[in-house]
């Protein structure tokens, strides 16, 4: 016989951690060029970042990441201020005060943000907002950096200032697959054990233990009871036939309201590796 169990979500953490915001601000000198009587992209970037920071809910931690505010050109790391919580005006004012010093790379800035978010284990609840003209003078691969950032689970808002186009790979990136962290936290990965016992009114039977999802085990035919170590335990009466594989399939949704379970008992020809040994199964 063999047992398969498919489970729904397990109980989750009581309170969710708050979302976070990272504002990435391009303060490079190339942003500062302005036509007569018009503002520069830098003016717009600073104003837009400050506008967003002042609009954030007070309980949302925010970080300001400015690149281009120090030298040497294309090598200096970005200036990181925060995270600040409850004082968005502080970062807004700092954003308005940022002055260009040297060219810097958007790609390496996004890369450093991705690394920091992953290290802090806050990426999946972080929204990254970039205020830039997307005409970086320092090279780097913004597509790779953007993909790395999205792979952490963070989201990306690109605020485009000026006439430059956002690379297509950033507009429509290949999204990461796999289990999201928020679901992983609520997925019970522990295997479920079961015990095959004598049925209440059936003949005596030596108990046999197994683990759901593992290969079929050989047991004696006749009526029996399968007890699965779920919460609460589940008992399923079965009748094992000689020369056949009994498959017990269970679905278990402990967090449904009300909790839901269902199962099916099926009989099939035994798999070759079991049938070669001995019957009955």
């Amino acid at each position: 016989m063999e047992v398969d169990i498919a489970r729904g979500l397990a109980a989750g953490p009581g309170t969710a951690a708050p979302a976070r915001v990272e504002v990435v601000l391009d303060v490079t000198p190339s942003m500062a060029a302005a036509a007569r009587g018009k503002s520069s992209n830098l003016d717009a970037a600073r104003a837009g970042a400050a506008q967003l920071l002042r609009a954030l809910p007070p309980d949302v931690p925010a970080t300001l990441v400015a690149f281009g505010v120090s030298g040497p050109a294309c090598q200096a790391p970005p200036l990181v201020l925060g995270p600040e919580s409850g004082r968005p005006a502080v970062l807004a004012l700092r954003a308005e005060e940022m002055s260009p010093v040297a060219e810097a790379s958007l790609a390496s800035t996004l890369d450093s943000v991705a690394i920091a978010l992953a290290e802090q284990e806050v990426a999946e609840r972080t929204r990254v907002v970039v205020f830039a003209d997307f005409a970086s003078q320092c090279g780097g691969d913004p597509c790779a950096a953007g993909a790395k950032l999205l792979a952490t689970g963070a989201t990306l808002d690109l605020v485009v200032l000026g006439e430059a186009q956002v690379p297509a790979c950033l507009r429509s990136p290949v999204l990461p697959g796999g289990l999201p962290a928020s679901v992983s936290h609520r997925t019970d990965a522990n295997p479920v054990s079961f015990r095959l016992m004598a049925a209440p009114a059936g003949p005596a039977r030596a108990p046999a233990d197994g683990v759901a999802g593992e290969r079929a085990m050989r047991v004696d035919p006749g009526p029996a009871m399968v007890e699965l170590a779920l919460t609460p335990p589940l008992e399923v009466p079965v009748v094992l036939s000689p020369g056949a594989l009994l498959r017990l399939r269970v679905i278990d949704f402990p967090e449904a309201s009300p909790p839901l379970r269902d199962w099916a008992v099926e009989t099939a020809p035994p798999p070759p590796d079991v049938s070669k040994e001995a019957s009955p199964q």
Partner: protein, 273 residues
Amino acid sequence: MKRSSLVLGAALCAASNALADCEPWPGEPSPLPAVSSSDDLTARFAHLRAEELAALALQLEPLAPGDAHRVWLHVACLDPQRDDAREGAERTSPVRVHTPEVVHQPGEVVPAAADLAFAFGHLDDPISVVLATRGADASAKPRATTSALASPTVRPQPRAAPSESPLVADGLLDEAEGLVRQAHFEEALEKATKAREAVPPTGDPAALGKRRARADLIAGTAQVALGQDADARASFERAIKTDPSLRLDRASTSPKVVRAFDAARAAASGGAP
């Protein structure tokens, strides 16, 4: 099958392909069940799983939109006919591009939002940039300006001195400026207030006036940052009345502070605010 379902299926096809072709997550049967399965238990699992993941995705949207997006796509794999899965995936798209217009006039101040979605909903709004006017003399080098805000300094140590003396006042003013540079505006305001009180009532009137004006200028700058606009204006007006030669270094001062200072100067000189 309804037309909307066909559209939904097509819309989600590309996204699902990007997510490893609806691969099962750990703990799920392989291949990933679908509600259309001919096997009752498999179909029932797909339905229940889609239900619980859709509920989870809704919870995740405001907190972890990137995760919510992946969950919505997985829901669509389990049950391609769910409209809420398509809508949820669109709502939580992990990349958004905004191209706001830039306007050269004062815009409406967006108040702090109750939730992030509201704040981010304004990213496509026009960005208001007020161009600096040619009123002030940017080349002037006043003694008391906020220009030092842009240059790194170390927070000065408190000095031991009588509570009311030029030395105490200068020390407190240095500390207050350092606090402004570090964005500790509440503490800066407190220090600036103390510094003003520490300026002795007697001595060289011009020097004392400069100190008081400097204290008011720092206080006003901190008040702008803290959103205390009326107090900031009063501080700036007081500073300008005490030292009419007071100028800001516009190259290194926040545009918002410059605007508040200019408005105070206009009011102090009897012009329109």
